[in-house]
């Protein structure tokens, strides 16, 4: 007699979009629950999209493997290292072969959220963000530009949303930044809260603190350089470009050169 394996369902809610994972490999369930502790919804909660997950047979060490995303027959196909997934956006269902280590699940979540957000005028940005005085401040920059430094210099009343990947989407309050579990050098997940965005700062190290507003075209170009782009279908790429244009029309964008001293937070 064949015994049916126990099934799990884990729902991870990031940015108001819930992603469900179902499967029978309890090591994957435990890994999801441990890593996304602050972002778990009830296992019975409805999900925006749902993946059936099984353990990948191939394992790739490190997380530097390139992402390959293709789109045909109305489905997305995602490959990155040991992660292999496909997703049907009409049915909002997919399947994934992945490892129980953080790289694969993080990759899948980032990619899926990027694709889902594009339809809603939102996007993920290589940026730290924090809430202070009821508004979010977003600090964008490449590795080494100062995202971790600005987070370390944050005053006690600032609440970290992320030190690595900012989650931005339009809501009734305008563009809103949401906390994410995606961590960078700081290694601390953001708080699962949200706030309307007050400003974006493009970071650069300098010998003194200097803040300059960017004109609209420059702001769009600068923000675009830090957007996480995974889509290759023209409609999604156009949607992301439109979203960034909309975002920069409603949100001031500044170039921020700063010395790594706490008073930078008082200047912004």
């Amino acid at each position: 007699m064949q015994r049916e394996s126990a099934r799990f369902r884990v729902v991870i809610n990031i940015g108001g979009l819930a992603t469900g994972f179902v499967g029978t490999d309890l090591a994957i369930a435990q890994s999801l629950e441990r890593r996304y502790h602050g972002y778990l919804a009830s296992p019975l909660a409805p999900a925006t999209c749902e993946f059936t997950v099984v353990r990948a047979t191939a394992r790739v060490e490190g997380d530097n493997a390139g992402v390959e995303i293709t789109h045909h027959d109305g489905r997305w196909f995602i490959r990155r290292g040991s992660l292999s997934a496909e997703y049907d956006p009409v049915a909002a269902r997919g399947s994934a072969h992945l490892d129980d280590r953080p790289y694969d699940i993080d990759s899948l979540l980032r990619i899926v959220h990027t694709l889902l957000l594009a339809r809603e005028g939102g996007f993920l940005l290589h940026a730290a963000s924090a809430v202070r005085d009821g508004h979010a401040l977003v600090f964008a920059g490449a590795s080494g530009a100062g995202k971790t430094t600005i987070c370390r210099l944050a005053p006690p009343d600032a609440v970290l949303l992320t030190d690595e990947i900012s989650y931005l989407r339009p809501t009734a309050y305008g563009y809103t930044a949401f906390g994410t579990p995606f961590t960078g050098e700081l290694g601390i997940p953001g708080m699962p809260i949200s706030a309307p965005v007050r400003a974006v700062y493009l970071l650069a190290h300098g010998d003194r603190t200097r803040i300059e507003p960017m004109r609209p075209a420059e702001a769009v170009r600068s923000v675009l350089r830090h957007v996480l782009f995974f889509a290759t279908e023209p409609e999604s790429v156009q949607a992301v470009l439109n979203a960034v244009c909309q975002f920069t029309r409603s949100t001031p964008v500044y170039r921020l050169e700063f010395r790594p001293e706490p008073d930078v937070w008082e200047r912004i």
Binding site: A217, L224, A231, P234, V240, L241, C245
Partner: protein, 100 residues
Amino acid sequence: MDPVYIARHPAAAWRRLEDEVIVISASDSSLFTLNEVAAEIWECADGRTPLAEIVAQHIVTRYDVGFDEAYSDARELVEQLAGKGILIVSGEPITGGDGR
């Protein structure tokens, strides 16, 4: 002069911002910024209007430049953009551009 037709590639996402046009290639996410003159040519790239007509009507009449110089620069530009995969260049009218 043999006619040259140009059309925006359907895999190119783009927006006008002030006097520039920003283009993203969907195939590799490359980002391009076209200046004022290049933006004029880009917006006229409908696959049906010959490049010479675009230059004569939109460049020579608006900018202080002769036709021959403007056309030569335009030919160089469109070949560059075609090399980047965001513009289609042909000796025949083009169907299947982005059609905007």
